[in-house]
Every structure is written in C-alpha cells, then in structure tokens.
C-alpha cells in the first residue's frame, strides 16, 4: 500500500519536475479557457432546454459503480523532497567523526547520526511523505514518514482530538514536542538548513521527538495564551534516556500579541523534566521570542531568538550548560528572502575551549510557493575532530519541493 502511494507520489512529483515551459503552459491555459467558455455555453444551452420534467427524471439516475467508491475518503498526501550540494573545508571521513565538546561524544563503533548534508559533494537528504486524515467526528490522524536512501523512519504518527470543549486539544502517539519555538517544525520549513546548535547539543539531531501524550489549552483571554503539557517516554538519550518507565514531562506557556497593526510578537517559556541514562535528574529550560513586522502582503522582517538551558545531574557532578541562537530573516517578496543567524554554546567545563559559536547567512529563492532553493554559508567554531579543534567553513545549496496536498504552515 505504502509502496504504491510512494510510487504514485513520485509519478506526481515527476510531472512537477518536467521541463515546464511557460510559453507552452500559457497556450495550454488559453486553450483550457476556450474549452471552459465553450463548455459553459453548452451548459447554458442545455440548462435552458432542460424542462422541469426531465430534471425530476435525471435526479434519480445514479451511476451504480460509484456506490462503494471510497476515493473521497483518501487522506491528504504530501511528498517533500530535500537534497543539497555542499562545499566544506573538511573531508567526509573526518567530518563524520565530529562532536561538540562538553555535549556529545564520537563513538567509532556506532554509525554517525548526521541526518542532513553529511557529505561534501551531493546529498539526497530525504523524501518525506506526510498524510493527514479525519477519522470520524472525534479524531484526526497524521503520519509523517522519513525516507532516507537506506532507511525508513516514522518521524511522527499521532491522533489529535477534534471535539474537546473549553479550548482543549489532546494528542497521542509519536510526535515532535512543542517545547520551544523550532522543535516541532520540520526541517523543510526551517529558515536555515541546519538545526540550531543549541538544539543539536541538548536534544540531538532528531530534536525532542518521542512517544507520549499531549494536552493543550487555549486560555479564554483576549491575547493569545496557550498552556501545554506533555508526558513522554524519555527515549531522547542526549539529555534523558532512562526508559524504565515513562520519565519525561514537558510543559510550556506561549503568548502572542500584536504590538501594532503590522508588528506581532510570539513568546514562549518551556521546561522539560526527566531522568537521564544515569537515572539522575535532567531539567531543560527554554525561552523564545519572535518579532515579525509585516511590510506588505509579501514582505516581512522577522527577528527570532531562543535560549536553552540544561541542568543535568551526573555522577561526575552537576552540569549547567546553555546555548542560544538569534536570527534575522527578511522576506523581500514572494520569491526572495535572506537572513543571518548567530549561535553560541556555553558548556561550562574548564578543561576545553568555551567559545563554541557559529555564524550563518542564507539567500533563498522560491520560483513558486512550493519549491525553494537556498544558498547558505556557515562558519562553525563548535566542532572537534578526534582531539583536534577545527573550524568549519561550509557553503551549501539545497532544494526543497513540496508536492501534493501540503497544508499551510503556522506562524
């Protein structure tokens, strides 16, 4: 079944890729319009001819083959493709062995977990297959499959309530936690191609993505206030990982308001409390702030920052670590956008360098709403290879296409 759908979607996406000559399309469109006009005229003629008697007769005619037709119940299906070309001053075998000092370690026994843009040269990062369907009056179902060249992964699969009163909504399954601002957003909707360092260091490459349940409540106030609570298994082994029982609890409060007609603010405070692999407590605190100024229908300026702070108890002592990013993105029009981002980590350990930082700049071109090319440069001073610190210069060009029934993105 899945295979068929994938096949179908590929076929659909192939048509998207087909050399689309604007000229040809325009003539086709003009042709279509002529056909429509002709059809409309025909319909009008028929309508006038049709008497009330024949109308009554045709009303009872049904095509018997469509009686058990379930096509209209098919879920919404979207296919997202992402790939890149990368230039980097570190060769591939070295790059695979990187770690962020004080946060992660490189284990040569295990396969490296760099999900995007791992190779100098060409990368096909993933094909994402997303499905959404309404399951009766009470639930919606969503599933997001990540297909890597040699891996099939259920990124998310969950049900969401549709009919809870008092501004409540519940979710259960495997899903991306709504901790912070960017954790629940899929890679193809990020403003920069790479995951923020603070998230990579504290939650790992996959972010906080776990099995569990979620309850959200929109408060009955004039300003937007939303409180959320999640009970999760705690399988994220970067900060948590003790799964003898469900061990991770996440809570957050988000607030949004318009400062002027054209300026909007969204802010959030989050906390994740769980047990790490040593069975000791880990608390992660998050604070985020986004300002967006709308210049006209197609142009805006957005400033977004996020701070993560981790208090991890280990047998070697108490680790208080933090990281933040701050970014400015300018959407010039529907086709062009540009942005810069600065990030820094504080590992609070004495023995190694502490100026772990990265600066990125990007230029984005969208020929159409559902396709995107991004040129990104990053200078990264946060990685260590073996026992050698090496600063990475990276330039990459990536593409993202969204085919099929892809829903609109939230703010």
């Amino acid at each position: 079944m899945i295979k068929k759908i994938i096949g179908l979607s590929f076929a659909a996406s192939a048509t998207l890729f087909a050399q689309s000559d604007l000229e040809q399309l325009k003539t086709q469109l003009a042709q279509q319009q002529r056909i429509i006009a002709a059809l409309q005229q025909r319909v009008e003629e028929l309508e006038t001819k049709q008497t009330s008697a024949s109308a009554a007769a045709t009303a009872n005619v049904q095509t018997p083959t469509s009686t058990f037709d379930q096509k209209s119940f098919l879920p919404d299906i979207a296919l997202i493709l992402n790939g890149s070309a990368v230039g980097r001053n570190v060769d591939n075998s070295t790059y695979e062995s990187y770690f962020i000092p004080g946060f992660s370690e490189f284990d040569p026994e295990e396969e490296s977990e760099i999900p995007y843009n791992k190779n100098r040269g060409f990368n096909f990062n993933y094909a994402e297959l997303a499905m959404h369907s309404t399951i009766g009056p009470y639930f919606d179902a969503d599933a997001v499959f990540h297909l890597h060249p040699d891996e099939f992964e259920i990124e998310e699969a969950y049900i969401t309530s549709r009919a809870l009163p008092y501004g409540l909504r519940a979710k259960a399954g495997k899903f991306l936690s709504e901790f912070g601002r960017i954790n629940s957003i899929h890679q193809h909707a990020w403003d920069f191609t790479s995951q923020p360092l603070a998230y990579e260091a504290i939650f790992g490459a996959e972010g906080l993505n776990d099995a569990g349940a979620q309850l959200q409540w929109v408060l009955p106030t004039d300003t937007y206030l939303m409180a959320g609570f999640e009970a999760l298994q705690g399988s994220n082994d970067v900060s948590f990982g003790n799964i003898e029982k469900n061990n991770l609890y996440v809570g957050y409060l988000k607030a949004g308001a318009d400062i002027t007609d054209n300026t909007t603010l969204l802010s959030g405070l989050s906390i994740a409390h769980g047990k790490n692999e040593e069975g000791l407590d880990t608390n992660v605190y998050g604070a985020d702030l986004t300002f967006k100024m709308m210049l006209d229908s197609y142009s805006s300026l957005a400033w977004q920052s996020e701070l993560l702070y981790r208090d991890k108890d280990t047998s070697e002592g108490d680790h208080d670590q933090a990281g933040y990013y701050t970014q400015l993105v300018y959407d010039y029009n529907q086709n062009w956008a540009t942005g810069i981002r600065y990030e820094r980590l504080y590992k609070n350990l004495v023995d190694e360098p502490n100026d772990l930082e990265r600066t990125s700049a990007m230029l984005e071109y969208k020929p159409f709403e559902f396709s995107k090319f991004r040129l990104q440069y990053a200078y990264d001073r946060s990685k260590i290879f073996g026992d050698e610190r090496k600063n990475i210069s990276e330039i990459l060009l990536d593409f993202t296409i969204e085919a099929g029934a892809h829903g609109a993105h939230a703010f």
């Binding site: 048509t15 325009k26 059809l39 409540l168 409540w217 408060l219 029009n333 703010f411």
Partner: protein
C-alpha cells in the same frame, strides 16, 4: 411601566449573551453586522490591506477563533493558505469545518472559471473555481440569506429579528442594485486587462471582456516577455482600461499604461481596501464610480 420595560430589556440583553461571529474578510463582516445587529458581536480576521490569498496567520487571531460561535468564510479555497493552521490551533469544535457554526459563503454562489484539469503547473489556480465573487454586488443577498438562516439555527430566540433584518436588508440592497446596474450599464469601454482574475464575476455580469491578466499564471509575477504580449494584445484589441487591485505592485500596470495610453484604475475587491470604502454600499459605489470614470 416604561422604566420596568427598560430594566427588563437591559437584563435580558445582559443575560442572553451576543453570538460571537467571526468572519474571514471585511465584506462578510459587514453582511454579518447587517443581519445580526445587536444580537451578534462581529470580528474580522483578515486586514483588508493585504492580499486575500496570503494573510499572515498571526497568533493574535487564535483567541478570536477560539471563542467564536460562528465562523463565516469566503470559501472556494481563498483561505486555504492561512486559515487551516489558525483553525487547528483555536481548538474550537463549534466552528470546525462541517459543524453548525461554520458558514461557507461560496456555497451560495455558482462558481465560474472552474479549471478543466487541475495542476500546479498552471500556477496557483483555484481548483474549485474563482473564489473572488465579492466584486459582484449581486452575490451579497444570497450570502446574507445564508448567514440569517445559520444565525437563526444557532440562536433561535432571535430568529424573527434575524429574518426581519434580512428582509429589510434585501429590500434596501435590491434598490441599491438598481442604481448600480444602471450606472455600470451606462459606462463605456467593454474591454479590460486585470492583474489577477479578481473581477471576473463583475465583468461577466456586465459583459465586460477581460482580455488578459498582467500575471502570466495565477500567483506568478509578470515576466517582461509576458508584459510585451499584454501590450500587443491591448493595442490590437483597443483596450484602454487596466484594473489594478490595491495590494499588488503597481509599477507593471503603469508601465503598460505608458506604452498603450490606457488608464490604470485601482478597483477595490473588499470593504476597506482603499479609503472611502468602509461600508458595503460605499465599497460597491467606488467600484462603479471608478469602473465608469
């Protein structure tokens, strides 16, 4: 006695709360106000200054939706780029699509320009048909009737008030339509060029021919090659009018105008788009005035 009546009126108005009606666009808000009167509290989501296809789903719109008893949408896909995430986050089953509190105005309209085949290769087309029916004032009464009926179901206590307001509104509107029809029928120039297929309902009703669009395909910015073709077409077919919406860039239209000697007319497509269009009547009056200038 009168005092007691007033007191009674005060208490009833206080105990029976108003119906919270939220509409996506301002013209729908004006219709809802006309039908709902004091029995409803109307809020509009989209700023009329923005492209109706691309409203930013600001978080501040969520609590409004969250407390709504009724949501009136334009429908026919016009809100698809911004309303679904807001609806999802509002957690309000009363206005979920298909529920009693959800009103889709497009269901009262016979949609035109329905594409024979649907593909994004043709740009950002509207697969259900053209959703820009707000430019034709003849579409207002059917929508008002639908809103009156939905309000009557939702708030049966005030059913007669809704139906009375509908009757009054219809009478007044039909009188206004007479003036509007006369005005447009009197105006010359039966060929126009528009930016997007925004005015097709209006143009079709009054037999004004839309010869070309400035955008080569829906949602695609004009290329220089396409602009030259539009200029050629306009010269061949003697088109002297360019209908410009208030939200797109106006440089292309003025350039074409300078090459063809045509006049650019900024025509509003919704209440409050441009100055002096704060009510339904002034909105349509502005359309007629500018079209027949």
């Amino acid at each position: 006695m009168q005092k007691i009546l007033w007191l009674f009126a005060f208490i009833t108005s206080w105990t029976f709360a108003q119906v919270n009606v939220v509409t996506t666009y301002t013209y729908l808000g004006e219709i809802a106000k006309a039908i709902g009167g004091n029995d409803v509290n109307v809020k509009v989501l989209a700023s009329p200054k923005l492209d109706p296809h691309f409203i930013i789903p600001k978080p501040s719109l969520i609590p409004t939706l969250s407390r709504a008893d009724m949501l009136v949408a334009n429908g026919a896909g016009l809100e698809i780029g911004w309303l679904p995430p807001l609806l999802k986050n509002a957690n309000n089953p009363k206005i979920a699509i298909g529920s009693q509190g959800f009103v889709d105005a497009s269901q009262t309209i016979i949609l035109i320009d329905k594409p024979v085949s649907v593909s994004r290769a043709y740009g950002d087309i509207h697969p259900e048909g053209n959703p820009h029916f707000s430019t034709d004032p003849h579409n207002i009464v059917p929508i008002a009737r639908m809103i009156a009926n939905k309000l009557s179901n939702l708030d049966p206590q005030h059913q007669s008030a809704y139906q009375n307001r509908l009757a009054n509104f219809t009478t007044q509107w039909n009188a206004f339509l007479m003036q509007f029809d006369n005005k447009i029928h009197s105006c010359k120039g039966k060929k126009v060029v528009q930016y997007h297929q925004l005015y097709n309902y209006l143009l079709k009703r009054y037999n004004i021919q839309a010869v070309a669009t400035i955008e080569p395909l829906p949602g695609i910015a004009p290329s220089s090659k396409h602009i030259m073709e539009v200029i050629d077409t306009m010269q061949q077919q003697h088109v002297h009018t360019i209908l410009q919406d208030p939200y797109h860039e106006k440089k292309t239209a003025s350039f074409i105008a300078s090459k063809t000697g045509a006049i650019v007319k900024v025509i509003p497509h919704d209440v409050g788009n441009i100055e002096g269009t704060d009510s339904l009547k002034t909105f349509y009056k502005t359309i007629a005035d500018r079209l027949c200038q």
